[in-house]
């Protein structure tokens, strides 16, 4: 059944005839990789262009965040707990994996709760969790802080680096540097914040949007629907992932998130400071804020020479257009974060598209 549907969708996608170039931004990093991984991108007609958006949490985290984490590691020597894809990201002058080789205690965890449990089991050690991620991970991070407070675990803190996606998309639209005809919106993020959080794109900026899931049929249906909306000039937002995403989202998760965090201005790599796009820890939970618990003044951040991750994250270039791509910047020796994270556009191109 599923296979028959997929074959039909694949035929329709391959058979699309566009009378002009259509440019679609996929906001989510998981979509970036899934378009490659499922082979769906290989089915696009030549003038259907996918523009990678700022949807990889590791990629948009600015150098100053990692600089601060490493400086805290050096001065206060906490155990640093982090998601796996952060450890190879270059900071201004180092990276977590390089610091680990020099002796910094860095542990990879699968969830913030793992880090909390580790702190509880090791009361003699300080555990700092690197809280990076979008609306999908922030509720879990908030829940962990609440749990730490409930269990009165004092040797646990998080370094807040979470970000909200709609303000970043709006910033790109306001800047107007990149031509985009429509958006494939993130399925997981939308499950939390709801379709309602994205209505401004079609409403205020007149761009059609489709909320899509992640398997091959989701991606193909999403693209076909969006192309159809664009061609018919229908500026609406369609939820094609309704088996997971509701109009109002997951109110419980959102309430949990704002119980611990509050929206704040936040710096995005390549885009700059976007008002209201970050999450800061509320005063009541300041004891769990590693930035306050471990005050440091990291050296002024430096950007790697020649790295065009910033332009890439604004949708202005594709990875192969960067002079470092595949030469000075590879997954072994990444210069920019977009080559590190498995959701980074450069890593996705390098991994799935090299030699094509």
């Amino acid at each position: 059944m599923g296979n028959d549907l997929n074959k039909k969708l694949a035929e329709r996608l391959k058979g699309l005839r566009l009378n002009r170039e259509i440019r679609i931004m996929e906001v989510c990093g998981t979509h970036t990789t899934e378009f490659f991984r499922t082979g769906v991108k290989d089915l696009f007609p030549r003038n259907l262009i996918l523009v990678d958006g700022p949807g990889c949490p590791v990629c948009v985290t600015p150098n100053e965040y990692l600089d601060r984490a490493i400086e805290i590691g050096k001065q206060y020597r906490p155990i640093i707990a982090t998601f796996g894809d952060m450890i190879k990201v270059p900071s201004s002058t180092s990276s977590l994996v390089k610091e680990k080789a020099k002796g910094m205690d860095i542990r990879i965890v699968y969830s913030p709760m793992n880090a909390l449990e580790f702190a509880e089991a090791n009361p003699g050690a300080e555990v700092m969790f690197l809280s990076v991620g979008f609306e999908t991970t922030a509720p879990a991070e908030a829940a962990t802080v609440l749990e730490a407070k409930r269990r009165n675990i004092k040797n646990f803190s998080i370094l807040p680096g979470n970000k909200l996606t709609p303000p970043a998309v709006e910033a790109l639209l306001v800047a107007g540097e990149v031509k985009i005809d429509g958006f494939i919106l993130p399925g997981h993020v939308s499950a939390v914040i709801g379709t309602v959080a994205w209505r401004f794109i079609s409403g205020r900026y007149g761009k059609p949007c489709v909320v899509a899931g992640f398997d091959a049929s989701d991606l193909m249906m999403g693209m076909l629907t969006l192309v159809d909306l664009i061609q018919k000039n229908k500026n609406i937002t369609v939820n094609q992932y309704s088996r997971v995403v509701r109009e109002e989202g997951n109110r419980t998760a959102v309430e949990l998130l704002y119980q611990v965090f509050t929206a704040s201005d936040s710096r995005w790599r390549g885009i700059g400071v976007i008002p209201g796009s970050g999450l800061a820890i509320r005063n009541e939970y300041a004891d769990f804020d590693a930035a306050q618990k471990f005050p440091v003044t990291p050296p002024a951040p430096e950007e790697a020479k020649g790295c065009r991750c910033g332009e890439l994250l604004r949708g202005l270039i594709t990875p192969p257009q960067c002079g470092l791509y595949g030469k000075a910047c590879t997954p072994e020796e990444p210069v920019g974060p977009c080559m590190v994270s498995m959701e980074g556009p450069c890593a996705a191109y390098y991994k799935y598209w090299s030699g094509r």
Partner: protein, 333 residues
């Protein structure tokens, strides 16, 4: 900055290969050090295979085996894929001060039991104890020797040849990763750790001339093995996503962690490249053995993307399967 060893230097990917070429073989002599799973040597007119492997794994007991079963089976398999009949293996233990005797005995019992089943004898060994913190509980090195009655390696691989895998992929890697990450939903994941010498022998005896290549896809998985065989050549590997045997549990955990099962470790599987006409018969022989019940033809050799391995997905799109630099790590969301 002084260069330091990173985890990637031991992961079976690009970083490790570079280190072997530029640091190790350069010193020991590229002519001496063979890069296959075992060195093939001759002495007094007898051809034999010789191999060594060191095992370290956290946790050292896992569903489907332990570090002892791995240490025996890994070395037995490295000999078997060269066409050798494994005969003798060694057992060298590095133990951390404070290691439990009960655990050690359990691990040694596993080694003895696997060795008996594989018809090999553990004939020599060594023990060292290092201070607390100087090792991660237990490291085991096994070396092995096997007699080569029929050589099967180093035959030219040609367009049209078929690629076979002897069963489901990624079982060991995902079982271990699930435990390491405390995934509560990982029930049912079991390592495929097994000795393959009897299964491989059954194939070689029937089809001594058809097999062009054979390897056990451990670290780095099936994709890494296939990349190595086409690297720098005019041929490419094409896999069919629909044909890949992957357990539902493995697929589930892979999806959640963002891992491709083609790169996850196997400890009881073999990849065979064969002449096309015998592929189905070889699969049938594999299927008749306990270890090869889910064997399948998963792809073929062609000339579409020289030097690359690629996969045709279920929807008919293609993507490259690159040589990864290191182990895949679980993702954020």
């Amino acid at each position: 900055m002084t260069k330091k060893i990173l985890p990637g230097h031991g992961s079976g990917g690009k970083l490790m290969n570079e280190m072997i070429d530029t640091i190790i073989r350069k010193r020991f002599g590229a002519d001496n050090v063979q890069l296959d799973d075992s060195a093939v040597l001759s002495m007094a007119g007898v051809r034999f295979a010789f191999t060594t492997d060191t095992f370290t794994i956290t946790p050292f007991f896992f569903p489907g085996g332990d570090i002892g079963t791995l240490a025996v089976n890994g070395t037995v398999n490295d000999l078997s894929v060269m066409g050798a009949k494994p005969l003798f293996i060694s057992c060298a233990l590095v133990l951390e001060e404070g290691f439990d005797f009960a655990d050690l005995e359990k691990i040694l019992d596993s080694m003895k039991s696997e060795a008996d089943k594989a018809d090999v004898r553990i004939v020599t060994g060594d023990t060292k104890v290092v201070p607390n913190g100087a090792a991660d509980k237990i490291f085991i090195n096994t070396s092995g020797i096997g007699i080569i009655e029929r050589s099967i390696q180093r035959r030219e691989i040609k367009p049209g040849d078929r690629i076979i895998v002897s069963g489901t992929i990624g079982d060991h890697g995902m079982a271990v990763m699930a435990i390491r990450n405390n995934l509560s939903f990982s029930g049912g994941l079991t390592s495929d750790c097994a000795h393959l010498n009897h299964m491989i022998r059954a194939v070689i005896e029937r089809f001594p001339e058809s097999i062009r290549f054979m390897r056990d896809p451990t670290r780095g998985g099936v994709a890494s093995v296939l990349n190595e065989i086409v690297k720098g050549k005019k041929i490419s590997v094409k896999l069919n996503e629909d044909a890949l045997p992957v357990r539902d549990e493995v697929k589930g955990v892979c999806d959640i962690l963002g891992i491709d099962p083609l790169y996850a470790a196997n400890e009881g599987k073999v990849v065979i490249i064969t002449r096309p006409d015998d592929a189905e018969d070889i699969v049938n022989i594999l299927k008749s053995t306990a270890e090869g019940r889910e064997a399948a033809v998963i792809g073929e050799i062609n000339e579409e993307f020289p030097g690359k391995a690629y996969i045709e997905t279920a929807v008919g799109g293609r993507r490259i399967l690159p040589l990864l630099t290191e182990e895949q790590l679980p993702r954020i969301c």
